[in-house]
Symmetry: C2
Subunit: 258 residues, 2 copies
């Protein structure tokens, strides 16, 4: 059986000039990755594009053809720079219409006269789209085929994911374990590569860390490496973990699971 | 003159499973965006891909053909999961060789016998690549054509950018101004769209904010919007700023430059 073929995958598309100008630090990619993990869905790619329709359309079409799910964040508010609904409509070749249910939801939210034409833009959904509930600020996201269109504000985005959860397929979650050691990664790199070779179905990542500043001796003392073993076969992950711990002890160091 | 054609653009390619698993929060995209701003180079796209050679090659080749510069982060250490040098070599169709200058630098850094085969991997550079100095932990990055290959650890990545700076072309930096107002963006959206129409060369972004929690009345009181005007013509940016301030006052609110 072709593993890759049967895997559940996802991509995130972050839409917004504010991310690419460095004004705003994206936190949605990591949040979506952590949200998807228990479903056994692998976040496989993320892209950030500016508020330009052609760029959004090209990215959505490339990603939705390739991955099980696509999550977009940003650009669904009432202002002129909120062009996500139109861009998704263009990507799917579908007209974008005022959704009657959203019109009613939003009309109820505003004082009479305050539900202006611009705010009505937040009710625009590509034909065939289903709504994603927004318990924070009312204006919903929407799903069209395998694409979930979410808000950019992290608290709203995360609340919307709760409504997305029941719609997702479930695969085998990745099991992972982390082992930290007070050795530079170059010391153990060869032994680690051999463990990786013996466990080809696992992904073993090596992440060095060191505290900056202080004397060179102090910096050396604060050097370490975190090894992260990830895979879908728990016994395989655990076996690799035990081999890594034995390997670390063979270097006279102490492995710490974290 | 075709503005887009003469613009200096850049893309960031973040390489690493740890970003896509949500284990590590990327901060390099925003740091590179802020670094590039004074050069007048626009960060136009960012992508995150896993530690898989085919994915890295495809992304590097797509991005380097399209943008003035590409910055990659991550995957240049000594361990088996550090496959960036090989992937960049494959993308350019160039062999990857032990660079004599890096071999000497690294040999001098380690105690005799400690400069093992795995650590020597950090000296591997695609043929034709020039080095990017690493004042933090010695092992350099490299440049090949318009692609800059940097470390993933943010402090090292940022230190490497200092050595990249003199190699970059300089365009007209974007001028920007921010105006914050204690009004929801839906109130001012129509008036703002009209200002954007009068200044087609500018990008005017509208970013709502609100403090979560508390009563509905407290939440309403903490609602606001930050408007960010960006463009290369300072007089145009300032003119739009003045129009936005007048517009805000016409709603009985107080604009605050930030």
């Amino acid at each position: 059986m072709d593993q890759a073929k049967h895997r559940l995958t996802a991509a995130v598309l972050v839409i917004g000039d504010e991310i690419l100008s460095g004004r705003t630090q994206d936190v949605n990619i990591a949040a979506i990755a952590r949200f998807l993990a228990p479903f056994g869905i692998d976040l496989y790619e993320a892209r950030c594009v500016p508020d330009i329709e052609g760029e959004i359309v090209a990215a959505v079409n490339a990603l939705r053809a390739r991955y099980t799910y696509v999550f977009t964040t940003g650009g669904i508010g009432p202002t002129h720079d909120d062009i996500t609904a139109d861009s998704i409509g263009a990507a799917f070749g579908m007209p974008v219409e005022h959704h009657p249910e959203v019109m009613a939801l939003l009309a109820a939210r505003y004082a009479p006269g305050d539900f202006n034409e611009r705010r009505q833009r937040m009710a625009r959904v590509p034909k065939g789209g289903t709504l994603i509930r927004n318990p924070v600020s009312t204006a919903p996201g929407f799903q069209i085929e395998n694409v979930f269109v979410l808000a950019g504000v992290p608290k709203i985005m995360q609340a919307m994911l709760e409504d997305v959860a029941p719609r997702l397929a479930r695969g085998t979650p990745v099991k992972s374990l982390s082992i930290t050691v007070r050795l530079p990664e170059g010391r153990i790199a060869q032994a680690l590569a051999e463990i990786q070779l013996r466990h080809p179905a696992l992904s073993i990542g090596s992440y060095p860390f060191f505290t900056m500043g202080g004397s060179m001796a102090e910096m050396r003392a604060s050097v370490g490496t975190t090894l992260v073993v990830r895979g879908r076969d728990e016994a395989d992950v655990e076996a690799a973990g035990i081999e890594i711990e034995a390997m670390i002890r063979s270097f006279g160091a102490v492995p710490e699971r974290s």
